[in-house]
Symmetry: C2
Subunit: 189 residues, 2 copies
């Protein structure tokens, strides 16, 4: 067991750096203030493209190693051309990705080696809301369900605890299950 | 004006189909019940990949015209390898994409021709929350700001009204600013 715990990389997580980062933020909490950003350009109809390139964190402006671009659109059945997933599908991807990234970090910190983590996220939505046809129906998802299949070198109960801790510390889970204030400014010219 | 209103495509939106879809859903509200889905596979560390392929809507199982895959990761400063944006950055993309798609549809329905729509979305987050270092700090974004630059063949006030109506009918805006119940199930083997 000692040999496993002393390995600096577990589940692809550099645990030494992970713990060093935690210590650094403990010593200088301001380092943890981040601003993430996306810019979006409308292309045609429901088709538009976002670029994710830079962010602020640990006291300075930073860039991703490369620029990421993502197209969104509606499928034909929703009067689009299916040039990308719908915006609401990206929300499901974000939730799965956040829970899974946290899970790998937490497992590494706890000395648990994961061999497989697979998840399916489903979101039920009644488009009578966004279509403005029924004021009783909300615009967004009515409910979201996540189903994880997880394998690793720990008893089932320990694996379940990883998911529970990941949920308890997930940024996207918080954004979806709680309220975030959003301001919108418009410049016309 | 009549000529403009009668055009079947405006801003790349097939308005005839848009109105026909609205009429169809008015006649059969169950058609608007959709389920969207993403599956995610953990790769290594904070790097994982989602696939978006099929969904349910208008009474039957459907597939996108192609399968979409998206990688998420953390940047090096957050102990990842920057193989993709962070999960929280995908949330900003989803918000920009949703507001922009709605805007194009609403403008088309109102007979307004758009020439440019650009937006920047920023999200402020204090990672003392997800790092578990300060129980007073939430896990998710503290605030999100959207800045739109919009040009079209209508007075500024009409263009601003488009954004306001898009906000009022945005699924992702609702998901972020209100609460969605999320259940998580875990299968271990």
């Amino acid at each position: 067991m000692t040999a496993t715990v002393n390995e600096s990389t577990r589940n692809g997580v550099d645990t030494a750096t992970l713990f060093a980062t935690l210590d650094a933020v403990k010593a200088a909490p301001e380092a943890a203030k981040f601003q993430f950003r996306a810019t979006n350009e409308w292309l045609s109809g429901t088709h538009n493209r976002s670029t994710i390139a830079d962010f602020y964190g640990v006291g300075e402006e930073r860039s991703h190693e490369r620029m990421f671009t993502f197209d969104a659109d509606h499928p034909a059945v929703l009067v689009g051309r299916d040039n990308g997933p719908t915006p609401v599908e990206f929300v499901l991807h974000a939730l799965a990705a956040c829970l899974t990234a946290g899970l790998a970090n937490i497992a590494a910190a706890r000395g648990i080696r994961l061999t497989r983590v697979h998840s399916t996220v489903t979101g039920d939505i009644d488009l009578n809301g966004i279509l403005g046809l029924n004021p009783e129906v909300r615009n967004g998802y009515e409910r979201i369900s996540v189903r994880f299949a997880i394998k690793g070198d720990a008893p089932a109960e320990k694996l379940r605890e990883l998911i529970e801790q990941s949920r308890a510390r997930s940024a996207v889970f918080d954004v979806i299950t709680n309220q975030v204030p959003v301001t919108i400014e418009v410049e016309t010219s």
